[in-house]
């Protein structure tokens, strides 16, 4: 049912202050593959190397050692500009703090990745409207972030992440700043996108409860992936009752 390998990390090391006396190794040879259409979570306590791993998966940073191919592109060898294009086309970021551009309407925010992809303004606007409809924000397209609630902002951010039809959605604690009810709605939206649209999602979280909802749970501890298992709630379809 799941397709080709989208993310392929092999023996990923990340060291900071390399060569200096206080050199710090955060990731110690992480192996990770994600296939098309999967909903995977990476769970770990703070200090486990989650953020560092996320930065590497998100092509914001390069590993010190090891190889990483994303959708067939070798990330380690890519120049800064190529990394920008990879982030633009292949990755949809969803941040804990939404990171919408202030003073820009929801529509303009969703258009942004398409603007950097040099899509023409009409196509941009059309698709941004469709995406906002998809996440249930069709009636708020001309609101600025100040005029939206946390949950609404995160919906706009998810629509923005989907803009260029990326290989994966990379969500970093997407419910971390939301109350549990709103957080639930956001998780339901991810499930809907995953099931109905077959979108590949990598969820990074410290919450085991959320991780259980995903197909595959990878536990990160001290820079190593220590376990990999199926999500219990996902297997039993428990979250589904909440969707309806």
């Amino acid at each position: 049912m799941n397709g080709d390998v989208v993310i392929d990390l092999k023996k990923i090391y990340k060291r900071f202050y390399e060569g200096s006396p206080n050199e710090l190794e955060i990731l110690h040879g992480v192996d990770l593959t994600v296939r098309e259409g999967e909903f995977v979570s990476i769970v770990g306590a703070s200090g486990s190397g989650k953020s560092t791993l996320m930065n590497i998966i998100g092509a914001l940073d390069r590993p010190s050692d090891g190889s990483y191919t994303l959708g067939g592109t070798d990330i380690c060898a890519a120049a800064d500009n190529e990394l920008s294009h990879i982030r633009n086309k292949q990755i949809g970021f969803v941040f804990q703090t939404y990171n919408l551009i202030p003073r820009n309407t929801a529509l303009k925010n969703v258009e942004l990745p398409m603007m950097y992809a040099r899509l023409n303004p009409f196509a941009r606007k059309k698709r941004a409207k469709e995406l906002l409809e998809l996440v249930g924000m069709g009636d708020r397209i001309s609101h600025t972030p100040d005029e939206l609630s946390g949950g609404q902002k995160q919906r706009v951010a998810i629509a923005r992440a989907l803009a260029n039809d990326p290989s994966i959605i990379l969500a970093d604690e997407p419910t971390g700043a939301l109350d549990s009810r709103t957080g639930r709605l956001i998780m339901d939206l991810f499930h809907k996108l995953h099931e109905e649209k077959g979108i590949t999602i990598v969820l990074i979280t410290h919450s085991n409860e959320l991780a259980e909802e995903t197909e595959r749970v990878l536990t990160l501890m001290d820079g190593n992936i220590i376990s990999e298992r199926r999500g219990n709630a996902y297997v039993h379809g428990q979250y589904k009752t909440r969707v309806q």
Binding site: H85, R87, F93, N99, L100
Partner: protein
Amino acid sequence: MFMDNIRLAFSELFANKMRSLLTMLGIVIGIAAVITIMTLGEALQNSTKDAFGGAEANQIAFVVAQKGMKDVYDSDNRDESARKMKDSDMMDTRTFEELGARFGDRLMGISLSDALGKMKCDDETVNVQSVNPCALETAGEMDMVAGRGISNEEYNSGRKVAIISKDTADEVFGSSEAAIGREIEGSLGKKTVSYTVVGVYKKKDSGIKDMLMGASKMETVYVPYKAGLNTSLDDVKFDQIIAIAKDSSDVKALETEISDYLNENKYGDNDTYKVLTVTMQSQLEMVDKELGIYKGILAAIAAISLLVGGIGVMNIMIVSITERTREIGTRKALGATNNDIRLQFLIESMIICLVGSAIGIALGMLGGSGLCAAMSITGTASASSIAASVLFSMAFGIFFGFYPASKAAKLNPIEALRYE
């Protein structure tokens, strides 16, 4: 993309209205000052040319001077021990006849004019100036408000007639009409003189000319040249004469040809003296050049405030970029390249400078025409100075925006995203 950046720049500008306004102020003041000064300078230059239009600008003076001198101002080469000028070294009516025969078709004539002195009549003191028709031409544009001008017959005979200014007529006779036919009398030096008023004139105002020539507030009474002479015109010797060209484009040629003619035929055998020339055109060119220099210096000083304004723009761009670090991080995460970010902030600083210069141009045009009106000269901002302002402010935007924009472009996306 480009249009998006422009739209974005304007929305940032309006989001922080007060800050944008203060940032632009330096540019506004700088551009306004430059435009005002350029407008005023050009207006002064133009009105100088206009004020000395026509016959006045076509004057060529021939001055008898020592052979060693290079030009009329060359006092360094004047030999104090040289022999004094004698009557035979000077020019007279025979010179006029020779010049008339040779260059008559190209000359309006030779200007003869003599300041006879100040004449007191009643409470008024007036200048008495004897002129020939040609000299009166160069005295500035005048309209006769009553009576007539001095006739040829009166010029030739040297009759004691006069034309007086409207102010003098009003003061001495009550009105212009009342003055016609009356005698204006008073003491000129030790003598008492009397002239019959045949006409009343009114001169066109020329503020600029008064400024340059040092206008005396005193009114002038013009009388025929011969009326001021105690001897026959043929006996008068001139150490300088003024010829007036018919055509302004002929001044330079006449200057050379006449001085060559005089120096060959009249002064060829003279052991000490020759003629030197000076034209009104060259004098005006000098004034024009000086005004140009002043204009340049003042504009340069004004440009310093533009520079300060530019530094202000750079400063506020750095602040703005620091404030928007997270936004920059987000944009990079969404796929903006370094160049995309650099372009965004370059356009933003260019827009600040352009909007500032637009306001500055408007204020400068107001200021320039206001000052021109106060000096009663006409002037409008030239298209070239407006175009230069726009180009300069764009260049300023790029120059002062480049460092902040590059700083933004080089931000590490991970750190920028984490920035609080």
